[in-house]
């Protein structure tokens, strides 16, 4: 895994100043601490720093083709590079390294931008075509690896992390109000957005061409949901998906360094760990998180899996004070406000992985999204069923089965039903599945200052989202719609970034997610929803697949979403709120209303338990204030340990 950064002159006059490229790479050194390289010619500069995983000895980047007319910098892994390399050698290409990076360049020579269709991996790369004087940038299908860009002084600038762009001399550092509104609605920013003005993210499954004519962005892949009903024989489907998962794991074990596993005690990570242990690595090392707060801890199930498989397991015990102690550092890496504290334990877990001498871990990420595991899918199914007879008193009782911890006091059933009845009259609403969640979260905007509200004017993120939906979205079944929204918003922009790439790469650790192999996604997209969510039995197919490899207690356990304490984790250190939520700090950022924030703090301090909204308000406001402090107000990185590039290709004339 690596960091990439670059600068292209859009005027043809050549990069005006490249002295800051070293700084851009230095700020992302955690992503690639092993070696670094630079390519520069009259128009472009490409820089890369590398975490060596495949071809440790000769894979230093930038990498070029046979006649040195193509140059590439690459962050990620191409898991099917063996097969592609074989194909390209047969086509007559000559390789000078054994890296997966070089495969991309020769595949591009062979197939142009269509090369993207053949890549099975997690990647972001930039390739300079010297003959065409054109830059080609692409990002993997679901957005496992990041890529940000900006236009500044007639130059196109890009990098793996935002902080590198913010470090460019003269680049304005400002919060984007609409992006802030999105975080406080959807739990994260929407496609292409970042929390900063003028900095954009290349969306997953897209490529970008930049040259003297400007920049153009196009899609090369999309989630293949459709209204088409595809019949799958159940047993055959189970076998086909099992084989694909097996192969997805196998090709993700390709590395010249040892590979470990994350093991939470849930079905997805247990299934993946089981496949690796039983088929590929009998001396497997696994890593898991434990919590001081019992409500969040899965230690019992985790231990059961450890005993069952006999893996060499290391667990990290998270105290409430660990959350407060590392939230500022974590936000330096997420570069985005959060409504959760869950990235912090994952950041600390990757530190343990790094300290244990591992660079790569397999995880169960994506299982819930692709196979239908989330409660929001069940909630949508029940609300759909209820919407056919909105006066029914029986139908909504299914929700009590779904959320037993909310419905534990029978006295409240009536009022809870009113809460879940919101929007029931309009099941055709494209956002039917998520409307309760988003409306509920939007209540957090009551904390916005007058200035923030004035800047937002009448902005509504749902309008932006609506415009971006696929043309035939309305014709999809209820589950496909909910999955699409969950995958394109929460998975891509939060789970794979704040809880994924950023939490792991902060400690130079690469996560690999077999369930997000595009072959599995493509097969599962148009499977009958009853084979995903069977009645209210989630991940029906996946449970069949893991029936013999995971204990029944884990297969049958209720879904336990991975979360971390918020109020208990933040208020344990009063200094955090005193610093960032003071009248002075809130006035300086101008983003939130001090009076309301004070009332929130009074309430949180008064009652022992905090409600969902109050918890989200606390971390949402605090994390935004920290982002403001670290990236807008006090952005002064330390460059004292900056290293020179290990290799430089200077082609300037």
């Amino acid at each position: 895994m690596c960091a990439i950064a670059g600068i292209l002159s859009l005027t043809g006059r050549g990069p005006q100043d490249i002295s800051f490229l070293g700084k851009m790479v230095h700020l992302q050194q955690h992503r690639g601490p092993d070696e670094s390289g630079l390519y520069i010619d009259n128009n472009i500069a490409l820089a890369q720093s590398r975490l060596s995983i495949i071809d440790l000895s000769s894979g230093i980047q930038p990498i070029h083709n046979e006649d040195k007319s193509l140059w590439i910098i690459f962050n990620g892994e191409i898991f099917n590079y063996h097969e592609l390399r074989h194909y390209l050698i047969q086509k007559g290409h000559t390789f000078y390294t054994h890296s997966d990076t070089e495969v991309i360049i020769h595949l591009y020579e062979e197939e142009g931008i269509n090369c993207l269709q053949k890549l099975n991996g997690q990647f972001a790369f930039a390739m300079w075509d010297n003959k065409k004087q054109s830059l080609f940038i692409a990002r993997d299908r679901v957005g496992i690896r990041p890529l940000f860009y900006a236009l500044h002084n007639e130059q196109f600038i890009f990098s793996s992390e935002i902080k590198a762009i913010l470090s460019v001399p003269g680049f304005p550092r400002e919060i984007n109000y609409q992006s802030l509104d999105q975080v406080f609605t959807f739990w994260t920013t929407l496609k292409g957005r970042t929390i900063f003005n003028g900095i954009y993210e290349l969306p997953p499954g897209h490529f970008l061409i930049a040259n003297g004519g400007g920049i153009k962005i196009n899609k090369f892949w999309q989630l293949p949901f459709s209204s088409q009903k595809v019949f799958h024989h159940r047993e055959k489907l189970v076998n086909d998906v099992r084989e694909l998962i097996y192969d997805a794991v196998k090709i993700r074990l390709r590395a010249d360094v040892p590979v470990g596993c994350y093991l939470s005690g849930g079905l997805d990570s247990s299934g993946i760990t089981s496949i690796v242990k039983r088929n590929f690595n009998n001396k497997l090392k696994s890593f898991g998180i434990r919590f001081e707060e019992q409500d969040f801890d899965e230690g019992d199930f985790q231990q059961e899996m450890v005993n069952y498989l006999g893996v060499d397991h290391s667990e990290l015990f998270i105290k409430n004070s660990d959350i407060a102690g590392h939230i500022e550092k974590m936000l330096w890496f997420t570069e985005k406000p959060l409504l959760r504290t869950a990235p912090v334990p994952l950041y600390l877990l990757s530190r343990l992985v790094h300290q244990s001498g591992y660079k790569v871990v397999l995880t169960g990420e994506g299982g819930d999204e692709i196979f239908g595991g989330y409660n929001i899918y069940k909630e949508t199914k029940i609300r759909n069923f209820w919407s056919k007879y909105p006066d029914s008193k029986i139908r909504p009782l299914l929700l009590a089965k779904l959320y037993p911890y909310i419905f534990k006091d029978n006295r409240l059933n009536d009022s809870l039903m009113e809460f879940f009845k919101y929007g029931i009259e309009d099941p055709a609403n494209p956002f039917f599945s998520h409307i309760i969640r988003w409306n509920n979260t939007s209540k957090l905007k009551t904390f916005f200052s007058i200035e923030t509200r004035e800047n937002l004017n009448s902005y509504n993120g749902m309008d932006e989202l609506l415009k971006d939906l696929p043309a035939d979205f309305d014709s999809w079944n209820y589950l496909a719609k909910a999955q699409y929204l969950e995958i394109t918003i929460f998975l891509s922009n939060y789970l794979l970034s704040s809880q994924g790439d950023r939490a792991a790469m902060a400690n130079s650790v690469e996560m690999r997610m077999p369930f997000l192999d595009y072959r599995i996604i493509e097969l599962m997209c148009n499977v009958d929803p009853e084979l995903k969510l069977n009645g209210l039995n989630e991940k029906f197919i996946l449970k069949k697949i893991f029936f013999d490899s995971v204990p029944q207690r884990i297969i049958k356990r209720d879904k336990h979403p991975y979360r971390a304490p918020i109020k208990q984790g933040i208020l344990v250190n009063k200094k955090l709120t005193e610093k960032y939520l003071s009248l002075e700090s809130l006035k300086e950022s101008g983003l939130f209303d001090h009076g309301k924030v004070t009332l929130l703090m009074n309430k949180l301090n008064k009652y022992e338990k905090a409600g969902e909204i109050d918890n989200m308000a606390l971390i949402g406001i605090l994390s935004t204030q920290i982002i403001y402090d670290k990236f807008i107000k006090e952005f002064s990185p330390d460059y004292s340990a900056m290293k020179t590039f290990d290799i430089i290709f200077d082609m300037r004339t």
């Binding site: 909310i406 006091d409 029978n410 006295r411 409240l412 009536d414 009022s415 809870l416 039903m417 009113e418 809460f419 919101y422 409306n439 509920n440 209540k443 009551t446 904390f447 209303d593 009076g595 309301k596 009332l599 929130l600 009074n602 309430k603 009652y607 338990k609 409600g611 969902e612 909204i613």
Partner: protein, 85 residues
Amino acid sequence: MNDHKELVKNFIVENFLFGEERKLNDDTDFFSSGIIDSTGIVELVGFIESSLPVKVNDHELIVKNFSSLSNITAYLKLKLNSQSN
């Protein structure tokens, strides 16, 4: 009875609206307007039981009694009257 209404209103404005009083009138529906969510009702009933000499019985904890300031006031009036008789 107006005292009770003010008491409940102040609690809701301070704890659920964080000072934004203008969002609340006597007939605003707490649930459909999203002012109070699933955990909020627990806080509201807990506040009433701790601030007033009232014990809310199971069969009384229905939307009709707690969905607005007017409804809560009417419920409390009946409840307190019946207790004093």
